[in-house]
């Protein structure tokens, strides 16, 4: 699966205005536009990159944070390999809503094993001086909610943006490796390299 450039779908979720589109744009085109309009529905960009010797194509899905766009965005959660939960460090409410976003994602993405699904948490707008959410609070939330990695980013200054997306890729790859590993050890290998399919047993 990881031998040639695999397409990995990651999705950015979080309240409206926390900077999801800006993070995507910063990462893919290295540009920042402070006058972006609300995202309507979903958008996505592809970026090819190499992480730990793996060539992957990252397909980054940016979503509309506002509640009124909910029905437009939720159909696109399916098939995600990783979810980037985003809040803004200058907006406490956006931080408190993280668990709602996580819930919405697991529900609509129909995640088989939510406990092991890779989430990455991003605290954006690090450049804004007035913080409402401390790094410690955020890290604590991540620990208590499944040990998600946490990154403090600034799409405006390009701080930590690339590392956050690269971490998402690492998490996906790690999960794949583990899945491969599990297949090889825990199943009777009737057909080499074929993932276990309940219908064929």
């Amino acid at each position: 699966m990881t031998s040639k450039s695999a397409l990995l779908k990651v999705i950015l979720l979080g309240d409206g205005g926390v900077g999801k589109s800006s993070l995507m744009n910063r990462y893919v085109t290295n540009k920042f536009d402070s006058h972006l309009f609300h995202t309507i529905g979903v958008e996505f960009l592809n970026k090819e990159l190499e992480v730990d010797g793996h060539h992957v194509t990252l397909q980054i899905w940016d979503t509309a944070g506002q509640e009124r766009f909910r029905s437009l965005r939720t159909p696109f959660y399916r098939g995600s390999d990783c979810c980037l939960l985003t809040f803004s460090v200058d907006d406490g409410q956006s931080f408190h809503n993280l668990s709602n976003w996580k819930k919405e994602f697991t529900y609509y993405a129909d995640v088989k094993d939510p406990d092991n699904f890779p989430f990455v948490v991003l605290g954006n707008k690090l450049d804004v001086p007035e913080r409402q959410v401390s790094g410690e609070d955020a890290r604590q939330w991540c620990r208590e909610n499944g040990g998600h990695p946490y990154f403090e980013t600034s799409a405006k200054d390009a701080t930590n943006v690339a590392s956050a997306f690269e971490e998402a890729v690492r998490r996906i790859l790690a999960l794949d490796d583990r899945a491969d590993h599990l297949i090889h050890t825990n199943t009777v290998d009737l057909q080499r390299k074929t993932p276990p399919d309940p219908s064929c047993c």
């Binding site: 309009f37 194509t57 397909q59």
Partner: protein
């Protein structure tokens, strides 16, 4: 009726371009002058016969009457005629196609050719006849392809079926276009999905022209369902040179959107000012009122600028067109600005018109964007023209004759040409204007994401401006990807029960059609409705004062009503018609208007 071939009746039977300059002397063979003839397999002597007859009669009548021939009838065909310098075009359709539609089709065809190739004379000097023949064939087949007969009757834009599309997605499309306009080299654009308009900033005629290139690139590109869109390489981007008339260009540039745009930080606000609240539903309206099954909305924003000059011709239509201005007034200051600007324009053109020498031409220039650009502005302007051109008694005669033909079906077989008729639609577009006012080359830029296309009219040097191309490409790519994903996942849904009635609603301003007809090639039960619609549309176009009409046969009655902005046609099924042949107030046909008003409300058609 039995002799009609429903599926073909809207189609062009003949089309040719004849260059009279090649046939001057007595001994010159007619075939020398035939630049293109459709159907191409027509035997050459038959081609010569038709070209010779029509060109001869056309010329003769024009010289006798000192006005250009617009329509000729020959046997069972109705020919729209255009003459320009030594060039002579004729396009023939069967007799049951309304004259307006035939003329419109020919104008569109010539407009298309000019748009992609520049002036006729020059393109025949620069290119081989074979190469250009392929283009004529391409444009002709494009104009006739795919759409229903109703689309042919109204010559309207093909739009996405907005009943299943979340209005927010239409807003999204409009915002993508506006974002592109932040680049000053971008004039206007449109977004198409699988050959249908999602959103457009151009006037309908221009959008129609752009769509030809879109369908061309679509058929050329192998359908890759994979990741063709994912590569940021130039693969998905193409461009071609196109030619706008000066008036079209002025018209695009006059859009207030362009100037204001960069200064506004909220594009949403910008969508509002140039649009009318009543005549065309705005995108912001759509976001709020879902009940409107409105279409993607070609914002006829700058239209009002060019409407107002019409007041120099006849006050009536422009009065009825003004309410949209004032409707728009209530919400934004920006609108008032736009408003003032349009008054400014009209003031100017009025001044020009009244100011003695050269006045006429200036009025004409102001007016021509309408003609070149918008046949559909029609109902308003058609009549302007008639009135302005000396209140034309001739035209009335023609209408009568046309009606007589329909009624009796007699004169079709005589082969006598009709006397020169006035322009049925004021789209002089490809004819006079383009060459009198020079053509301006522009670039048509296209960015395709699978079935979705962003088409932009840009300045010629846009492509060499790397910063500009990258800005436009990158600012729109993510949104285009997303919009494509959204539109692709919309299932067309079952067409739903046809309902106990047929209706079709034509928006003259946006040139769009809403109908509950299946659109397939003439289902038998739809035939009478389509025919009646065709006939009524023709009457509406020819008779300015006609507002409502009911047309009936023994088995069916169709009601038609129109305003400056729209035409609506309605037929109730199953109602047994009580009709003894004598006018009778109990005749159920008379209940059609109220039925139409009630039934069509849920389709967003308000006839109240």
């Amino acid at each position: 009726m039995a002799e009609l071939q429903p599926s073909d009746s809207g189609r062009c039977t003949y089309f040719f371009l004849y260059d009279g300059s090649k046939v001057k002397g007595e001994g010159d063979p007619t075939r020398e002058g035939i630049c293109y003839f459709y159907p191409e397999e027509t035997p050459l002597d038959r081609q010569e016969l038709l070209c010779g007859q029509l060109a001869g009669v056309g010329r003769c009548v024009s010289e006798l009457s000192l006005s250009p021939v617009r329509v000729l009838q020959l046997r069972r065909n109705k020919f729209a005629i255009r003459m320009k310098d030594d060039f002579f075009w004729a396009l023939g359709c069967s007799m049951d196609v309304p004259i307006v539609s035939v003329c419109e089709l020919l104008d569109q065809l010539i407009d298309l050719f000019t748009f992609y190739n520049g002036s006729i004379r020059q393109s025949y000097q620069l290119n081989s006849q074979e190469a250009l023949a392929a283009r004529w064939a391409q444009y002709l087949s494009h104009l006739q392809s795919g759409s229903s007969e109703l689309h042919h009757i109204f010559s309207c834009l093909r739009t996405i079926d907005s009943t299943n599309v979340d209005p927010l997605l239409l807003l999204k499309a409009a915002l993508i276009l506006q974002a592109c306009q932040r680049c000053p080299l971008v004039l206007a654009g449109c977004i198409l999905f699988r050959g249908r308009v999602v959103s457009t900033q151009m006037f309908p005629e221009l959008t129609m022209k752009v769509m030809v290139h879109e369908s061309e690139t679509y058929t050329k590109a192998p359908r890759s369902n994979g990741q063709s869109s994912s590569s940021p390489s130039g693969g998905a981007v193409s461009s071609t040179t196109v030619f706008l008339t000066l008036s079209e260009l002025q018209y695009l540039q006059s859009a207030p959107v362009d100037k204001d745009f960069s200064s506004h930080s909220t594009p949403h606000k910008d969508t509002v000012p140039p649009r009318k609240t009543r005549l065309s539903r705005t995108l912001s309206d759509m976001a709020s009122t879902e009940s409107e099954p409105s279409d993607p909305g070609s914002p006829p924003s700058p239209q009002k600028v060019s409407f107002s000059p019409d007041s120099t011709f006849s006050p009536v239509p422009s009065q009825s067109l003004e309410p949209p201005f004032s409707n728009g007034k209530h919400s934004h200051e920006a609108e008032e600005e736009a408003l003032e600007e349009s008054y400014y324009h009209s003031f100017h053109s009025n001044g020009g018109g009244g100011g003695g020498g050269g006045g006429d031409t200036s009025v004409f220039e102001e007016d021509s964007p309408l003609n070149g650009g918008r046949g559909d502005a029609a109902c308003g302007t058609v009549f302007d023209f008639r009135e302005s051109r000396s209140g034309n008694e001739e035209s009335r005669d023609d209408e009568v004759q046309e009606e007589a033909c329909r009624g009796g079906g007699v004169c079709g077989s005589t082969g006598d040409p009709l006397p020169p008729s006035p322009p049925p639609l004021p789209r002089s577009g490809a004819l006079g204007d383009p060459e009198e006012s020079p053509l301006v080359p522009m670039t048509l830029y296209m960015h395709r994401v699978k079935g979705l296309v962003l088409a932009l009219l840009v300045e010629l040097h846009f492509l060499s401006d790397t910063a500009a191309t990258e800005e436009v490409y990158h600012s729109s790519l993510a949104s285009l990807n997303g919009l494509e994903a959204h539109l692709r996942t919309i299932s067309p849904g079952p067409p739903g029960p046809p309902g106990p009635y047929f209706f079709s609603h034509f928006d003259c301003i946006q040139s769009t059609l809403t109908t509950n007809l299946s659109g397939g090639p003439g289902g038998a039960p739809e035939r009478p409705f389509v025919r009646a619609t065709s006939l009524l549309h023709s009457h509406f176009c020819n008779t300015e004062t006609l507002q409502e009409a009911i047309i009936r046969s023994a088995g069916a009655a169709v009601y038609g009503t129109r305003s400056v902005a729209q035409e609506t046609f309605f037929q109730q099924h199953g109602a047994s018609l009580r009709n003894s042949g004598i006018p009778n107030h109990q005749d159920s046909a008379f209940s059609l208007p109220s039925k139409a008003r009630h039934r069509l409300l849920k389709h967003g058609v308000n006839l109240l």
